[in-house]
Structures are given as C-alpha cells and as structure tokens.
C-alpha cells in the first residue's frame, strides 16, 4: 500500500538567486509528484537545477514561488523548528562527501537522528545493529569515520539516512566519490533497501549506473523538467 502513497508534490516551483544584483533563475515552474517506493534519478547538466530541486523538496531552502507538499503538509509554511522536526522524522539525507560526524563512532552517527527523536537507548541500539547488519558494517560499530574507507563511510551514511525509517531519502551524487565497483555495490544495496522498505529515493546524479537502476528518470534543463521517464 505504501508504494502508492504520494510523498512529494511540487506545484509551479521556482527559485531565483541573486548574484551581484543579477537575478539568476535556478528552477522555473517545476511540477513534480513522487510516490512511495519510487527510485528516482534527477539528471541534467551542471547548473540545470538538480541541487536546487533537492534543497527545496527537503525544506533546506525556501522557494521564490510555488509550493512543496510532503505527505500532505506544505513545508514552505513551516517555521524553522517545525522544519527541523519534519526533516528529522520524514527525510533521510545521503551526501556526496558522506559528511559523517568524525568524532562520533559509527553507532553514534547512525543513532543520532533517533536520539533527536527521543528513541530509548536500547531501541536505538537494536535498530542501529539491524541497519548496520543490512549494510554489512555490524563489526565496525565502534570505529570512527576517519578509520573507514570511502565506501564504508557512504554505507554508514545510508544507514544513518534509513535507520529512522523516513518517507523519503534524498541523495546527492551518492556514488560520485566512489570507484565504480564500490558505487555499483552501494547502488544495488540501496535498490534492495528501497524494495524492502518501500521508502522513496530521489537522487541527483550524473552516474549512468544510477540512471540504469532508477525506476524513474527526470531530466532537468535550465530549471525545467524536460523529460520524465518511468519504467518498471
């Protein structure tokens, strides 16, 4: 049932930046709907608006016009505190450069969001161990990120994004800093998790592998959706 649920709806979404007094449109009237279980890649050349779209969808940035609705809630109307709580409970992030907290152990990094949610220690530990088992890092719980390889760090980032079971995972070029074999393994793992959990994934990517694995490929050009391909 969850796979059919609408997760994101954007309507006439636009964003214009000001650069030295010059207005630079980054996104122009984007209408987009993402449903649960989708494994969506947003592709396009640099400057096409991929990152801006992800920032607006996640509530990290405010649109110049238009709306973003996540599971029926218009996030553009939320206060800063409400947005923080909303992101914490509904969105998982996977960043290109992993961006784990280097002074926290693998377990502490993964459990951080649950800690913000007020999940009890025992429950946190159980869920951390479950997700680390799924990403193959259960032996590394006490290590700190600088002691892990790039691929291992990105797996920790994936575990952190998924452990609180959000509705949507946003990933910016998640394989860009990895060699092709590690990238392929991670992509397969994310696709498996996507199938198992029904969470929606939204990638911005240049990686052909990601495009091939995606169930939907959205092409952005000059801030507009020029193509929206869905496949089973």
């Amino acid at each position: 049932m969850k796979q059919k649920e609408t997760i994101i709806v954007t309507e006439d979404l636009s964003k214009t930046y000001r650069d030295n007094g010059v207005e630079v449109p980054a996104l122009r009237g984007v209408d987009l709907t993402v449903s649960a279980g989708e494994f969506t890649a947003v592709v396009g050349p640099s400057g096409s608006g991929k990152t801006t779209l992800l920032n607006l969808v996640s509530g990290l940035d405010n649109p110049s016009s238009g709306t973003v609705t996540l599971k029926g809630t218009a996030i553009s109307e939320m206060s800063g505190k409400e947005l923080s709580d909303f992101r914490r409970d509904h969105i998982g992030f996977i960043f290109q450069a992993y961006n784990l907290i280097p002074v926290l152990t693998v377990e502490e990094n993964v459990e951080y969001i649950m800690m913000l949610q007020g999940v009890k220690k025992e429950e946190r530990h159980r869920r951390v161990m479950d997700i680390l088992r799924q990403v193959g890092l259960e032996e590394m719980v006490d290590r700190v990120p600088p002691k892990l390889s790039g691929g291992q760090q990105q797996r920790v980032a994936i575990a952190r994004a998924m452990v609180s079971q959000p509705d949507l995972i946003l990933a910016d070029e998640p394989t860009a800093n990895l060699d092709s074999e590690t990238g392929a393994n991670l992509l397969n793992m994310m696709r498996d998790l996507n199938r198992d959990t029904g969470m929606a994934f939204l990638f911005s990517t240049h990686d052909q592998m990601v495009m091939q694995k995606a169930t939907r490929v959205i092409t952005l050009r000059d801030g507009k959706i020029t193509e929206d391909l869905k496949r089973d």
Partner: protein, 408 residues
C-alpha cells in the same frame, strides 16, 4: 544536553594543537591575574609590615589633639591604667610606651635637630624593629642611663661613633626651660629610611621623662596586635576601650592614610588587568570557535539538515566554548601555581625601595588565597560562556544550504 557536551569535548580535543595554543593564551592571562593578585596582597602585607613593624606600630594611642599639634604637653591620660589594660587585652600582643619631644643633638663636630624618643627597650623590641636594625653596638643591652641609640645618617652628620659623647637639649614640658643631658652612643641603627636614620634618637623612658619633666607621662603608646587584620577591624572592642578619658586609639590606616589610598588604587589596577584578560578571552575564544565553526561548516550543515534544531547547534557551540574555557582555566590555574610556587621560593627583593611613604624592609612574596583559584577561574568560565553566545548564535542561524553548498 549531555550528548552535546560529549560531542563538544570531542570536537575541542579534535584539533589538540589549536586548543592547546588557545588554552595557553587564555590561561596565561588568567595566570597573570592570579599572580598579580597574589603579588598585590604580598606587597600590601610587606608595605604594612614595613610601615608598622619598623616603628609605627599597628595602632597608636595618644591624647586627643596630639597627632595634629605634636605638643609634648598633650600626654595620655591615665597612662599606667592604659598600660595595665593593654597588657591583658586579648587582641594585643605588645604595647610600647613612648615619650616624645623635639630637641637638639650636639656632638663636638656638629649639631642637628632630632626627635627624641624615650622607650622601654624590651617593650619597644616587641613592637618595632629598632633592635633588628642595629648595625653597630647594641640596643640598650646594658643598664646605663646614658645610653643613646641613633641612626646611621645622624651618626654621620654628628661624626659620632660608638662610645662617643653627644648632648641632648630639649624644652621641658610646662616650664619651657631648656634641659640638657649628656649621653654616650651605644648603638647605631640603619633602616634605609631617611627620616628615621637621620632624625631620631632613642633613650630610656625614665631618662626621657625626667629630661622633659613629665613624671610618668607618655605621649604615645604603640601597639602590636596578635593579628595584623585586627588593625582594620573597625568593630574591634579595642578601639572603643582605648578611646576614652580624652585619649584616642587609631590604626595604621589613619596614621598612614596615603598607604591605604594606594591600596585602594591597586584595586583599580586589578580591574584593569581583569579587563585586559577579558579582551584576551574575547579574541581567543571567538577566534578559536569561529575557526572551528568555518572548518566544520559542512558538519553543522549536516547536523541541521538531518533534523537538529537551531537550539541544538547553539547548545553544541556553547558547550564547545565552555569546554575551551575549562581547559584554559585548568592551564591558567596550573601556570599560576607554578609561577606562585617559584616566586614564593625566591621572593622579590624590593628592600630599601620607598612605596607610599614607607620603605620595604622585607622580601616580597606573592600570597596565595583560595579565592584566587576559585573566583578567577570560575569568572573566566562564565565569561567564556558569555563570549561563546556570539559564535553559538551565528552557528544556529546560518543557512543550511550555504553550509552544505559543496555537498548537497
């Protein structure tokens, strides 16, 4: 909050060298403040001791009006009763009766004005340091009524040495007639205080009283307390007890008001130093925290992106500020202890140097007080937290997209 404190400690210790440099810079400021405070207390104590132990006493009793006029006829009422009461007062360690008058001292070579003091040698030795300052001869060791002890400078003026004869001329109280007597120099003292070395002469009390024609009259009783602090306690029963019958008991603070004024000024110097420390702390903390903040901009962006509220980031930065303050305070206290310990072993030799109308007689040692190691470090901690509010506010209000621009 505990999580943020744990995270803050790990972050602060992440760049150990930077934390250590910032901690040492701030710690040196704190150590300077503690050391300066200890030194000022030590200097005050030495100055007071030099002023009071040399000759003045920690308190004096006179007939009212004597201090302004220095009239030898203004003598203490009921001196024997006062001396008896003083001998049993619990706050009083020693009391030295003195008979004072201006006079002339004449040697075969020269003549000079002199303040003549009749003293009881044993009592005087218990109050002042005249006996310790003897450089030639002795301090009334024998029982000759002709003994006179003079200062080194006066001896030079008179070209008089041990055993030489000098003549004292004073004006008898009441009659005003000149009264003369010959003495033999039995001791020469040296204090490095011009007024004392060049203008005072000591003889036995009964001889002075006879010379002045005052019977058992006294112009002054110098007091040494069991504890120096009694001299500053206005509510001490001593003052009331011995300010009666037309007499007045006054502490060194009234006798040497300039010294007290100087001590009050040192409080201002302390405040200036504390202000300078505050400046060091402001720049030290802000510089360190902002370096750390901009270095870890992505981390803060990620923390905010994954759901940390602005208040959480604020708490984290504040905890980092507090951690840095704690490290700095620990370094400062350790440095202060080391410096204080070294200087308390060696002392600082300012002997012979004049300060606020007195001359240092002892080595200067910094004085360690518990409050210096509690109030100043705690003050530093509190101030560090206050200064930390600024970077904490900046961190909590920064744009998430700006922070992670290179990431998402």
């Amino acid at each position: 909050m505990w999580f943020y404190i744990k995270l803050a400690w790990r972050n602060v210790l992440r760049n150990k060298r930077r934390t250590l440099i910032a901690g040492i810079a701030i710690g040196i400021g704190l150590a300077c403040l503690i050391f300066y405070d200890g030194l000022i207390i030590g200097m005050e104590e030495v100055a007071i001791r030099s002023a009071t132990d040399t000759f003045l006493g920690e308190a004096q009793i006179h007939r009212q009006g004597y201090r302004n006029s220095r009239e030898a006829s203004l003598m203490i009422n009921d001196p024997s009763g006062f001396l008896k009461d003083l001998s049993v007062h619990p706050a009083v360690k020693a009391a030295s009766p003195r008979s004072l008058a201006m006079g002339m001292i004449t040697s075969p070579a020269n003549v000079n004005a002199v303040m003549l003091l009749g003293i009881d040698p044993a009592q005087e030795a218990a109050v002042s340091k005249i006996d310790d300052a003897i450089r030639q001869g002795d301090f009334f060791d024998g029982d000759s009524p002709r003994d006179i002890v003079i200062g080194s400078e006066l001896a030079d003026i008179l070209e008089a040495g041990l055993g030489d004869r000098v003549v004292i001329t004073v004006s008898a109280v009441g009659t005003g007639e000149l009264s003369q007597e010959m003495f033999r120099v039995s001791g020469i003292y040296h204090f490095s205080i011009k007024e004392m070395d060049g203008g005072m002469a000591f003889i036995r009390l009964p001889v002075a009283q006879r010379l002045l024609g005052v019977g058992d009259g006294l112009q002054e009783i110098a007091i040494k307390f069991n504890e120096l602090k009694f001299a500053s306690q206005n509510d001490l029963s001593f003052w009331k007890t011995f300010s009666r019958d037309g007499n007045e008991a006054v502490s060194w603070e009234e006798l040497l008001p300039q010294l007290k004024t100087i001590f009050e000024m040192t409080g201002a110097f302390r405040a200036i130093l504390a202000f300078l420390l505050v400046i060091v702390v402001i720049f030290g903390i802000i510089n360190t925290l902002f370096m750390s903040l901009y270095e870890r901009l992505f981390e803060f962006g990620v923390l905010r992106a994954v759901g940390t509220r602005p208040r959480g980031v604020f708490k984290l930065m504040l905890a980092e500020s507090g951690s840095l303050g704690l490290i700095s305070a620990a370094i400062g206290v350790a440095l202060a202890l080391i410096i204080m310990w070294i200087v308390t072993q060696t002392g600082i030799d300012y002997r012979g140097i004049e300060f606020a109308g007195t001359t240092f007689q002892d080595l200067l040692y910094p004085v360690m007080k518990l409050y210096q190691f509690i109030i100043y470090p705690v003050g530093l901690m509190v101030f560090t937290l206050l200064v930390g509010l600024y970077p904490a506010t900046v961190a909590s209000r920064m744009s998430i997209t700006d922070a992670i621009r290179r990431s998402l």
